[in-house]
Symmetry: C4
Subunit: 389 residues, 4 copies
């Protein structure tokens, strides 16, 4: 197994040195290109997208309606099959409650999140939501957790899914249990007709093992957004730039070992600006999975509040909810511009296109080779770059 | 003697590069495991504990009653034999005074701490407190300082102690004095019937020498909590991750040199969250010695205020006292959950168990081999991770 | 091609380690010198300057009048041929509007900047402004963008320009387009009678290629001032100290390959204090291009507000505008002293002269060899060093 | 010449990596010692001191009276021969004015400092002040600048000086001038009957050259306190830990080249706590030159305000003045304790003694060998460590 730079933290005990996305930057180099000559298209299995975006399966930003809107803007919306839309017939009132408990200063408390997610998931509702998406004609994708994959998959599949996302904080290809029955990912995927995206993975090895399960895409990162407390609660931190690079190395090795199967690497975790999207792709990701940046879209069901499902864990919540942010325009404006502010929070994929032009790359696959630099001041512009809320 | 990474700070003068716990993180890897299949048990000498916790001997969190409560929750409570409970017949009024001098913004002033600790220690009270603990039926442990070991040990031992903790900021196996009589740790321990835990030590060499005194456990770190000023006052800083790793190397070398004596390494210093506990154990500690995190337990005698005994030094105080924190639940909730917030401050050992499951380890000894990474943003979630108070 | 220090950010993917100006400092060494024996003179092509200053082509600080004032103080003023002065007959009202929308706390909003720059550039006005400068008798220079060079150059040249500055955020010698017509810099410069300064460039290779176009000077850096958001919006960051050093290496290699053509390296980006000017020159720059520091001059047309033209981009603004700063004296005082405050914001080039004296260097070319050190606390003096506004 | 660790900041341009005092810490090691067995004594030439302290020649803390008080507490007070006491017959009113212009939030403005120091130095007053010190019976020392050494030395010497301090921001053994007459340090010192301390120097080479002038002591560092803006104004920064180590290497080499002349290394610059004093000595300094920490003494003439003479420079001030701090006790308490707070700001040399005991060293020369570590969190205790004012 290939080995990365090591640091000796004490006698004979080593740690890898990992880099986060904001430590890495792109270097414009010899060539520039017209912005109109650049393509940001991405294709996984038979599905083609104008922009390399799949959404986080967060109730704060993804409802059936916004999943469809994302698709129409060129990306892939992923609904959480274990979220509010499958626990409640009509979650409108729950959203209202969470929004009412938030302000411009603070988000809803952990206890309230724990309470609204205590309501059980209804398999019937899961099927109904998938059908709603499917009937709209867009590429349909939902997320289920590894724990509930066996139970929920039938409903999901029969309702007409295009892509299945099996996602937990960390997912391994080898789950050990003494309780008898664990999901065997490899067998499960082999039996399936639809392509699967699976994750998160945090290192080369886990990514490679997940690729070997037959997945079409592997999510890299544990979804640690700015409100994640995986660090304080579990001592777990995934420097994302390094994790993406390592997963891309696994992709290359797996491509070689299979004589040509290309598994997509999808980056997930504190990707909040167009600059971070560019960095993630530059490190080798094929697409990004983002949620929090979409909360400023007028259509966001959470009304500007952000939370990840892990913030609602009944015994060990591992993240908080954000205060409410002001809307910044329609989802399309947030994704495709034009931007009326300079903080990297709107025109997310228009900015990507321009970055590719300034650095001289024509498509995303080429762009993965852009020159990188470590170091330099993080720009902290006065009154920009930090989203209020 | 093995040598760690060195930095040349100037011509021919080298310093070791040390890492703090919060610079090191755990990497989930190939395997995951059911949380119910994980054990957090720890055993030292004949004493077995469900959780690898021994308390700091701080009056802020340990009274005879809370020592017993800690034991019942699965850990080891250590009462300070030179603290308020052995200086005052009934320290209730002193606690009231310290609490009254604190607020949500500031802790009691140094001068007040110096004043209440100016009252002499009464050997009779020492014996009485030990007896009280012993009679409760729990594993009994008290802390004495190296300076007063000779004077106080008889009272402590005859009252029925199970484990003796000899602890100062820094303790060496070779104390040089011209005043005639210094504690010879090796001889003292050899003559003793009860196992001894001794420290703090800051490097490989001191840890190894303390192991050679016959101690059952060695405390690593100088107890530098967030209020410690050892750094400003004495220029002394112990990057704890590196110190733990080095002490674990001493443990391995001593195991080899004795053909099988395993001395436990107990980490002590700014371990305030469940994430930090996981990091300390991942670096090689067998258990953690913590105090400050327990102050949010409803039973804490300090009522949410935290101070270490070094904050009360008559001529050179080397730490401050915290403001008062709000209670977060019973001691059992703080230690074993469930958590109603996401900041790593409650369900401390439930979180450890889950971390071990997510990284695929079954017991603490295996968990010491978990993959580590250096780098990555310290998660600073909005409104979480930092205890108000 | 020479290669700089590399960091492995993950398996087989490397990034160069770059340093920013504020990470690098000067070390006084063996020799000192009288301040009156030091020269800060700089010459490019036939033009000699007392101080190594060319202004950023920002409307916030450069009007025709201030361009003339800068020249009289010994530097080179560069007017933006695509700024307010060539969009409006009389931009006084526009300046008033921008100033009115600013306060001591916040600058004018992005939307207002986008609006005032939506007015088209008038080629007639371009010619008139150049003529005004030319008639004043000072060395005349204006900036045009690569996109509009072909269109605007004739007007500029016939009106009597001395030096032409072709400047965009990033300029390459090889712009690829499918739309048919791109500026061929090499041919354009070869046909020209006046010397050209071109940039910005961010690395050795781009700098070398731009030198090969026949330019007299190459601008290094992307003009990222403190309000730049290139980092958040595009993921692009140029650690300036390293970029200058690399461009100076290109200068040396190009000098060798041409047997003697010396192309000047001009540093541009977050150079806000006399200390930063000294650092940029010490790293190998022949001159600095600065704008923001001039906004505290009484003559600054923006009245203390700062913005770069990129802040007004119609679809993807990449910077903000500063709040209004209090004036600190005349332009001459700001450039040549005396200083009545200690924050490195006034007497910018008097300070440079004294630094050269304290480190023992007689002229700028020698000064490029001064000893450098990495590390050390950034001095953050109470109440100094940070310009209010 | 020996060479330290180098960093390649760009192609073929290197910078030394320097460390500041607060990056380096002491590691308690194998041995401990009784605090009463430790000596902090220091001797330079024929003069012996109980504590390794010489004061900065700052008017804020040194009057003739406090110079005497420092001597009585065991250190060496150094009066500035070019400060307020030699510009004014009675500077009481000037001190009152400066104090009146200060508050707990801000110090006196630069312009006021420039104004009060515009008054010329009177050679008669210089002689009178030296005589006053001499007559008190303490070891007498004053500071003169290299520029005025030739003019002022006669008055100083004939009035009965014991030690002469020739000090500027940076002093070299080779000052180049075209104006005709520069101080030749070597000849000047050779002709002198009293020992000379000279500096500041920032690197090995300058320190070595200054040692070769015949000086008894060399000051290392440019006196950059927390209010210094040498960094912003001149781009000059001296990472002090590395500078001390390098000067100690020069001391060793000079000792060898002369077969036994030991020149003392005196550290100067942002040494504000007892921890920093311990660090400076641990890096190899024989003594520390400090000023700012003495401003909290009741006797300080500045009444809690701090400024360095460089803050009053007429054309290029390079530092600010502090706000007024509350007194913390008598000068003796500040230097020798006991401490009633835990921030390293009182009992400065009592703390040093205890640090030496905890790390097992008997005297200062031995203590220069203490183990060092790089890294670790800077302790930032809540409500301690940072002097208000």
């Amino acid at each position: 197994m290939p080995v990365r730079d090591n640091v000796e933290i004490g006698l004979n005990r080593f740690a890898r040195r990992g880099y986060d996305l904001d430590e890495v930057s792109l270097v414009p180099s010899r060539r520039t290109r017209d912005v109109d000559d650049v393509s940001t298209a991405w294709q996984i299995d038979a599905f083609r997208f104008d922009i390399p975006l799949i959404t986080s399966p967060s109730d704060a930003v993804v409802s059936p309606a916004t999943a469809i809107a994302v698709a129409r803007a060129g990306g892939l919306g992923v609904l959480n099959a274990e979220g509010l839309w499958t626990r409640y017939d009509d979650p409108t009132e729950v959203y209202r409650q969470l929004r009412a408990a938030s302000s411009a200063e603070a988000g809803p408390p952990t206890a309230l999140l724990q309470q609204v997610y205590a309501e059980p998931v209804k398999p019937d509702l899961v099927a109904a939501r998938v059908k709603e998406l499917h009937d709209s004609g867009v590429t349909t994708a939902v997320r289920i957790s590894p724990q509930h994959t066996v139970a929920l998959a039938p409903a999901v599949l029969s309702a007409g899914i295009d892509l299945l996302v099996i996602q937990g904080t960390t997912v391994s290809a080898e789950h050990v249990t003494t309780s008898g029955e664990a999901l065997n990912l490899k067998e499960f995927i082999a039996d399936l007709d639809v392509p699967v995206i699976v994750g998160g993975a945090a290192d080369y090895q886990t990514a490679l093992h997940l690729m070997r399960t037959g997945a079409a895409g592997v999510i890299v990162g544990i979804g640690a957004d700015s409100w994640s407390t995986a660090d304080s609660v579990m001592g777990i931190r995934v420097p994302l730039a390094s994790a993406i690079v390592d997963a891309a190395a696994a992709r290359r090795d797996y491509l070689d070992e299979t004589g040509g199967r290309y598994v997509h690497v999808i980056a997930n975790g504190r990707i909040e600006t167009s600059g971070a999207i560019a960095r993630a792709l530059a490190c080798g990701a094929d697409a990004v999975q983002i949620g929090e940046p979409l909360r400023v879209a007028e259509e966001a069901p959470g009304g500007g509040v952000w939370w990840d499902s892990v913030a609602a864990h009944p015994r060990l919540p591992r993240g908080g909810a954000s205060a409410a942010a002001e809307p910044r325009g329609t989802l399309e404006q947030v994704l495709l511009g034009p931007a009326e502010s300079a903080d990297g929070r709107t025109n997310l994929f228009g900015a990507l296109r321009r970055t590719m032009a300034k650095t001289g790359y024509r498509d995303l696959k080429e762009f993965q080779r852009v020159d990188l630099v470590i170091g330099g001041n993080g720009a902290t512009p006065a009154g920009a770059g930090h989203l209020v809320g």
